[in-house]
Every structure is written in structure tokens, then in C-alpha cells.
Amino acid sequence: MTEQHDDRHVVTTTLEFPYRRSLGPVIGGFARALAEERIVGVRTQAGDVLVPPTEHDPRTGESVRDGFVDVGPAGEVQSWTWVSEPTERHPIRRPFAFALIRLDGADTALVHAVDAEAIEVMRTGLRVVPMWRAERTGRITDIECFVPAGLEG
């Protein structure tokens, strides 16, 4: 079952899926704010601020309240991992960290990349700030990455 084959016995296929999505009021509101260089969350009935926002409180299933709350833009690393060899799908092409980041004013954490230059810089509790793309289209990648506070240049 593990014998070697010559390459002509390997067939390469790429499947392509073009999608168009309507984001709805909650994710759509978050996306619009990103385009304006802002990060927003939503408030649950219990008063917690969810970032990234979802339509329902994950604990209760209740709809979140109407309206958005500005959060961050700085935040604190809650957990992280160091990616020594990024994949072609990752947002950064050199070694970087993925981190769970709790933005100031939020009660939940957002996943994003942290461009920290070296693993030694990373630690739980690290303060980070977003680096914005010049051209923003309302996607999570409008934030190019986060960087350690003070290094945003």
C-alpha cells in the first residue's frame, strides 16, 4: 500500500468554488467597521461584549442586543502559538504567531496573526495593536496583522 509510483500515476486536480455571501446585520456591521478602520463588537443580553460578533450569545442562544460597541484597537494576547513555517494560506509569509487576542472592552477573544519577529517576543499577556491595510474591503484581513504595542512604528 505504500509502494512508490512514478509521477504519471499521480493526477493533480484543482477544484474551484466561487461563492458570494450576504453577511447579514451583525457580521456585516463588523465588516463595515473594519473598512472604516474600526473594530466593533456586540453586547449579549447579559451584557458581555462579543468580539468577533455573532448573532447569538453562545452561552444562551439568545439574540444579541441591537447596536455595536467600539472595542480596542489594542488588546492582550490570551493564548498563542508560533508558526515556524507558514502555509500559502497564512496572512504572513515569515515566521509569526497566531493568537487569541482579547481587545480592550471585549469579553471574548479574536483570532489573528501577530507579526512579532521572533518567538521570544511572544508571551501570554502581551499587548498588541492592529496594523491596518491601506485598502480595506470589509474583511478580517483588512487587519494585516497585530504587532506588539510600541512596535507599530
Partner: protein, 186 residues
Amino acid sequence: MTTEKGSASAADEPMVVDDFVALTYHDRLPPETVRFADGLIAGRIIGQRCPQCRRVYVGGKGFCAMCVVVMGPESEIDVADVGVVTGYTIITPVRYYGQTKTEPFVYASVLLDGASSVLGGQEITGIAIDAVREGLRVRAVWKPPEARNYEGHSTRGWGSLAGGIVGFEWTGEPDVPREQYKEFAV
């Protein structure tokens, strides 16, 4: 929807985004497909005959789905490159992502002589498309030997002839009576 600080622009308009996903797979062809593909390159069409029910599959999957028994190289026989159209449709292409056809074309099922499974999705040539019909006798149109390759084979389908055969053409013979293929007609 209101905002506590500032306001989102055009917040009443639904926000719509496009996304494009591309997933790449590298399939190692299963052994029976390799033998089938090599057969096409050599100008042969290989079928697998079930040791239990004697059905002949073109191309074989390595097992008989009716009897659930394995079929290996010992089960393999040559089948003819002539057969009969057992069913067809004429497809008028509509535009969608990935569609390369622009003109109506025939999509036919062909039962080769000696086989008990049909080859689906075959093009029929040598006859006007509005004259294509069930019972038509057809013969494989082979690629020149130097143009034959592993095209069309994968681990997720069986029986592609594209590596050796471009389609089927009408032989000009009289039609086959339906009695002789009705088991395979759609």
C-alpha cells in the same frame, strides 16, 4: 441598527462579499486504473469480469458492487471498441463558472460489445446531433498513439476513456434492436 459610537456607513444595505476557494488534490491512481490507463495507451480497452456474477465492468473499480467481491488482475479481459448507444441527451451549454463549451453537444451512454456496464458522457460524431438515437452502432475514435496519455483518470471516478479515445463515431451499420440492450437503457 444603531451604533453606540459613530455609525456604520450605508448600514441598511446588505453587505455582500465574494469569496473564491481553490483546493488542490494529488491523486495516486489505484492499481486497476493504472492498468486500464496503460491499456488505453496501448490501444486496448480492459474490462474486469466478476468471478461470481460474470458481469464485465469497463473500467473496473477493483470490486463488483453487486456481489461485493474483489476483482484483481486475474479478472481482466479485453472488450471491443465498438458498441451501441443506450441513451443520450443533447446539452445546450449555459454559462457558468468552468463551462468551456459553447455549442450544443451529445452526451451519450455507450455499451461496448462484451461489457455489462455503460460508459457515460461520450461524444458521438459522424452523424448530425439531431439524428443521434438509442440503438446507434458506434466505434471508438482513438487518439494517435503519440497523443495518448493519462488524461481523465482519477481516484474519484472510473471509466474515463479520455487518455486514449476522443469519442465515438457512427459506424453506418443498421441500428441494434432495443431487445439486445434494453437492460442498460436509461
